[in-house]
Symmetry: C2
Amino acid sequence: MPSREQHDRMANAIRFLSMDAVEKANSGHPGLPMGCADIATVLFTRFLKFDARNPHWADRDRFILSAGHGSMLLYSLLYLTGYEDITLDEIKNFRQLGSRTAGHPEYGHAAGIETTTGPLGQGIANSVGFALGERIMNAAFGDDLVDHYTYVLAGDGCLMEGISQEALSLAGHLKLNKLIVIWDDNNISIDGAVSLSDSTDQPARFAASGWNTLKIDGMDPEAIAAALEAARKSDRPTLIAAKTTIGFGAPTKAGTSKVHGSPLGAEEIAGARKALGWSYEPFDVPADVLDAWRAAGARGAEAREAWEGRLAKTDAARRAEFERRMSGKLPQGFDAAIADYKKKLAEDKPKVATRKSSEMALEVINGVVPETIGGSADLTGSNNTKTSQTKPITPGNYGERYVHYGIREHGMAAAMNGLTLHGGIIPYGGTFLTFSDYARPAMRLASLMGIRSIFVMTHDSIGLGEDGPTHQPVEHVAALRAIPNHNVFRPADATEAAECWQIALETEKTPSTLALTRQNLPALRTTYVEENLCRKGAYELAAAEGGEAAVTIFATGSEVEIALKARDLLQGHGHPTRVVSVPCLDIFEQQDEAYRKAIIGKAAVKVAVEAGIRQGWDAVIGSDGIFVGMTGFGASGTIEQLYAHFGITAEAVAKAAEGRLHG
Amino acid sequence: MPSREQHDRMANAIRFLSMDAVEKANSGHPGLPMGCADIATVLFTRFLKFDARNPHWADRDRFILSAGHGSMLLYSLLYLTGYEDITLDEIKNFRQLGSRTAGHPEYGHAAGIETTTGPLGQGIANSVGFALGERIMNAAFGDDLVDHYTYVLAGDGCLMEGISQEALSLAGHLKLNKLIVIWDDNNISIDGAVSLSDSTDQPARFAASGWNTLKIDGMDPEAIAAALEAARKSDRPTLIAAKTTIGFGAPTKAGTSKVHGSPLGAEEIAGARKALGWSYEPFDVPADVLDAWRAAGARGAEAREAWEGRLAKTDAARRAEFERRMSGKLPQGFDAAIADYKKKLAEDKPKVATRKSSEMALEVINGVVPETIGGSADLTGSNNTKTSQTKPITPGNYGERYVHYGIREHGMAAAMNGLTLHGGIIPYGGTFLTFSDYARPAMRLASLMGIRSIFVMTHDSIGLGEDGPTHQPVEHVAALRAIPNHNVFRPADATEAAECWQIALETEKTPSTLALTRQNLPALRTTYVEENLCRKGAYELAAAEGGEAAVTIFATGSEVEIALKARDLLQGHGHPTRVVSVPCLDIFEQQDEAYRKAIIGKAAVKVAVEAGIRQGWDAVIGSDGIFVGMTGFGASGTIEQLYAHFGITAEAVAKAAEGRLHG
């Protein structure tokens, strides 16, 4: 345990690295690292279980910097404690193109960055997933292998965001007592004093959802340590409200919004050096301080070795399973189970909604993939996300596989990201597609991080019927396709649903959204083929007959049935017509030119049919192609009324195509 | 005041209309209307100030059904109290195509539907804007003209959504004491008992943000009345936690999730008729009950007449201004002010960021349009949303014109919708464009409702630089364009910014998003023209020289400068090139075929340049057109590094065009 003087010098090393890096970059946020340096020093030197030289150790404590703009706090800690990824050169290259030290912490840039933060509230919501993931893995593998804490540093912004309420109320409900949130209570936001916009008693709010709450002087090391000690013993998650001074040490700007997000300037930094008795050059950390920090970074080596010893002694099958799950690889038997299931589907030819065929696929998947954790934002019976294997996780009982996330779409998606990032778990969670808008910021982060969160979005068009335009997605499929590195699947029948699930599970570095119908759809793929035809995003489902195709109809999901009926009409009128099913336009667009050209084909008339907007389809059918879909919001009515009213029918498709053929 | 027996019969009329309508539609949510019929009856017969035959009376109390799925409660009330829009036939046509009685209450379908609800949490967040709007208009026009309450009925879903926290913490901070939220505390959500997913002490949560809280038996008329009396006298907003039984009266399903969102079935309804002593046929409301309800609907006529008397006696200019503001028409002098400002810009040729030129335009606008209310989600200095005229609204002082919304993008957007819907106010509010994702569900509802909320979204591309990919919008412009009836403006210089603001303010039935740069841009429009060139969405900014255009470059915002430089390069190489500025692709797509064709032109090579994704541009440049923009997420670095790294440069545009010309 460092002496007070040593503590201060260690904390000041964070402060000056942060000031200096922001100054050199001429961009960044010095205020948080300066205000929270004491908190971070106590946490990293006395509590956090980690081994900087073995940063991927599965049973490490997780530290989540929810207030991601304070990235220099994290980078300083990673450099000081000896993470190899973050060298002093990286610190000096803060915020420069190609550096690991991006403006905000980016998952994948360096070990020790457990999640990407910056969009406020995401980190604290991820942390619910991290903490729940720890308990789930603990239930599966025991204290010997899984027993760690999740520590979060959150700012006023994180707590003002609505997602924080979803996160804390879920964590409080589930009694995730190994989740410890430290709130940097500095009274300052960008516009000025927090009192400009908020008067909330935050501890009272957390207490209202069953949290343990503590209030401390966040610049007093012993108070910080005592609070962390108490938090670790709590039977509930803990909020530590830590009063700090933003930009502590800056002689004229400390305690004001001026120190939040801009370089301090040479004069102010010189003043800080004087005030804090720090006589070293920029980026110069004296040897005694660096040594002390490096010792802190090696503190956990013994515990890590002991853990490895326990792992080595674990029953071989159990150990292999733990390692497989943490590696993210699917179990053997997965492909065979999908193949068997596809054979059965080819025989059964079920006429069911794709939300139902998703459930049927999940019943198979959950039987062979023990790491899936299902859930729904209070639409379990509608999203069909629950199978025979997934019983609810309840407060204190984490040995099951289903999360009742509550009416918290955003918190669900962010918690799913945390579950994924924790390791050992593949989460999927459901809501209505129209409410993907609520979850979108977290879904985007899944894409940016490149992680396998799987979003089950049902009621995917006007096909949901009477609930009306608030509940009818029109632009959502296009808007989700717009997110880079996000696969949006819209299967057309039970076989495609199985294949799309297979791809979603196999794709480790891209999150998936499955857009699924409320309404029943016939089986369209009635012959078993081993190949996953959805794997290239689009394929020819029905060839033209009687000559070269005059018309090609592209369709997704529920509209593939309409496309096939339109083909029948057109063939009947002597127009050879092919149908291309496009279960995933995102993947199709990534195929090579030759495949794309072959699938798009040379028919004079190209039609796309999708019960959504046209945006994105011109790339396939051309700007002169025919689109049959929506041009505005939906309406309340029966599904039959709505498809007729909006003209999404086989007759409309055939008529439009013939108009063009004759035109 | 109705006797208890009369009260019960009036409440039962709501219950049976709701049961019968859901049964006939074979779709809908009977549980809430049955559980909340007592609350609604007390509110509408004894408290709510309204006149059913004059439903647009400006000083009426507002009733917001935040739990929009309980729409039959509202439709029953509107029919029973005598709103002309909701006839018994409309009740019988519940959820049918073309009816006013959509699945969820749709703003514009009928008077008395103050806002569109259904996506949970939106209504309660709108209500903050309604209540704030009342106070703002009261400050401007006095108690004689503006003095009413905002009543909200919210369910567990509304309170579990994160947006509720943003809404309640803002309302508590601003001490909006005329906001009264009744929470239908029925312990049931769709998945089952609320205790499956939540353990929050909701009154404690509200109290933590400065609310008055009351707990009552929500099925006891006198308790309801006493609570409403107390709430109306509070100096803080009030939450009334009202214990109810969902589906009250249903003999076997009451108090369970089975009664939430499905028809009860003939047998259960028969049992309810027996249990509640209701011997009438479906849709039959006995004369005594209907008479009592109609009398309740006329209760406010006297108050309305008195108010009209006060309005008539008001000073003519003040009265005209009140009526103008409530009508939504802009003041005289607006166009002239914009024209003068454009003349000045043509002379000054300022080189400023469009976030700054937006501020400059707002300085002009706010000087002549007193009904604008500015704000930002804690990015005031970055969004440039504050002008000399807009000082902060503070708790208890509503006579100013700026709202520090706090770090609450979603709550801000929803509150803006409430301000718009209240009438008399044009709200604009800012955040970073990347955080439009947080606000998106409310922005969509602005589009669906067709209301004039104006979203100021700055830092609109990789041009924001070092903050990195979390903060760099890439897909957001495309994703917002995807929303029907939503104009996304991306002005290229100060003159375009002024013109886009002019259009946004003039467009009463479509919300607008202004996407604005962080970085400086040169003046491109240096000659004054009276015409608003942005009004058709796209226009030729620079013609081809030396022959028919071989290349047309389309660009928006910050990339128009790049397009013009690329034109210089191409012209220098002998390729006649024109540049089309596209400040609003949404509006351009609505122009007639002739204008679209003329602007798109016949150049062999078409290029679009936008620092976002391609999606949507194929409609302009064709699927074989050249797109220079982003294909994935951004990165942390300086703006110069990033534009070079991602190849969004004049040289890249010229090279790609020449490659095609020579290819």
